[in-house]
């Protein structure tokens, strides 16, 4: 099973890449994949994505196939799904 992860805003630099393709194995939820991506990349991405309790930070939005996911509701992933992380940005 292949899932694409895309990083937007400052998360791109934190991850060291704009996108990556992973094979998480079947049955994994988006929430578990997020935790896995943070663990795989380590800091600084972990600090951007997750708070001390391991929950998605309120300053990051996560989308699966262009629909925002709710951290409290496990979102199963399927082959070909795309997971996008977006950090809050502003004007200027």
């Amino acid at each position: 099973m292949k899932v694409k992860i895309r990083y937007c805003g400052q998360l791109k630099q934190a991850a060291g890449c704009a996108a990556e393709e992973v094979d998480p194995g079947s049955g994994l939820s988006a929430q578990e994949l997020i935790a896995g991506a943070a663990a795989r990349h380590g800091e600084p991405l972990t600090g951007y994505l997750l708070d001390e309790s391991g929950r998605l930070r309120p300053t990051v939005l996560a989308f699966v196939n262009e629909e925002q996911i709710d951290w409290e509701t496990p979102r199963p992933l399927g082959d070909g799904d795309e997971l996008v992380f977006m950090s809050a940005i502003a004007g200027g």
């Binding site: 937007c8 939005l61 989308f63 925002q68 996911i69 709710d70 809050a88 004007g91 200027g92």
Partner: protein, 241 residues
């Protein structure tokens, strides 16, 4: 509540091409003329929003931005000029907008949005366009807009990426609900091209025009995200809570 205003012959001549847009017409133009919009700040993003709304015939703009023009403004702040270095940003903006549209009513406020002025500034307009670089200002504008039942167009950018959405009272969350916390890593100065701020600024202006005139489909419940580095555009569906 927007009170449409009837057009003069001069205005019909100026706005002829946009009045040909289906479903817009003279009725839409009258709504723009009767509308007032707050834009803060009026730098790379807000300056282009203001310019396009002035060009489109919005009747009144309230511009809120403290400080003077700096050299680093000039890669993207299209209402500023080299001759204006060291002089008031809002005054430069007001002058440039009036050169384009002498019928425009401009209120230039040499302040950034803060707790002391947000209620009055938001209260004086029909719609807000948030172009501010600091989350404290953005949250303040959003709280007031929600509290007062005003629509708000939300524009943001970073490097070659941008985000755009429209908040409507009673229909969508506002920014402080979408992002309940300020990102600690965000800095006021960040990498960006003027073409990126210009692109999302034009789109933000079009969102404002759609909300005021009732044409098209504003980005309510959706976040437009684009990356001009890859020319990638996505409309992301925002969750209800």
């Amino acid at each position: 509540m927007i009170e449409p205003k009837s057009l003069t012959d001069e205005e019909r001549a100026v706005y002829e091409w946009q009045m040909w847009v289906p479903e817009f017409g003279e009725e839409g133009q009258e709504k723009l003329k009767g509308a007032s919009v707050l834009i803060s700040r009026i730098g790379g993003l807000g300056g282009v929003v203001a310019y396009e709304l002035a060009a489109a015939g919005v009747g009144r703009l309230v511009l809120a931005h403290a400080g003077d023009v700096k050299p680093s403004d000039l890669n993207r702040q299209l209402l500023m000029t080299h001759d204006g270095l060291g002089k008031s940003r809002v005054e430069s903006a007001a002058r440039r907008l009036r050169e384009l549209n002498p019928r425009l009513e401009v209120e230039a406020v040499a302040e950034n949005i803060n707790e002391g002025n947000a209620a009055a500034l938001v209260g004086s307009v029909d719609l807000v366009v948030d172009c501010a670089p600091l989350f404290e200002e953005r949250f303040q504008m959003n709280r007031e807009a929600k509290s007062q039942g005003k629509p708000l167009v939300e524009c943001a950018m970073y490097e070659m990426e941008a985000q755009l959405t429209t908040f409507l009272p009673g229909e969508t969350r506002y920014l402080h609900e979408l992002y309940p916390e300020k990102p600690e890593w965000w800095k006021r100065e960040f990498p960006v091209f003027g073409a990126v701020s210009g692109a999302v600024g034009c789109m933000g202006a079009m969102e404002a025009i759609k909300v005021i005139s009732g044409i098209g489909e504003p980005l309510t419940g959706e976040l437009l995200v684009f990356d001009l580095g890859e020319m990638r555009f996505h409309k992301m569906k925002l969750g209800p809570s």
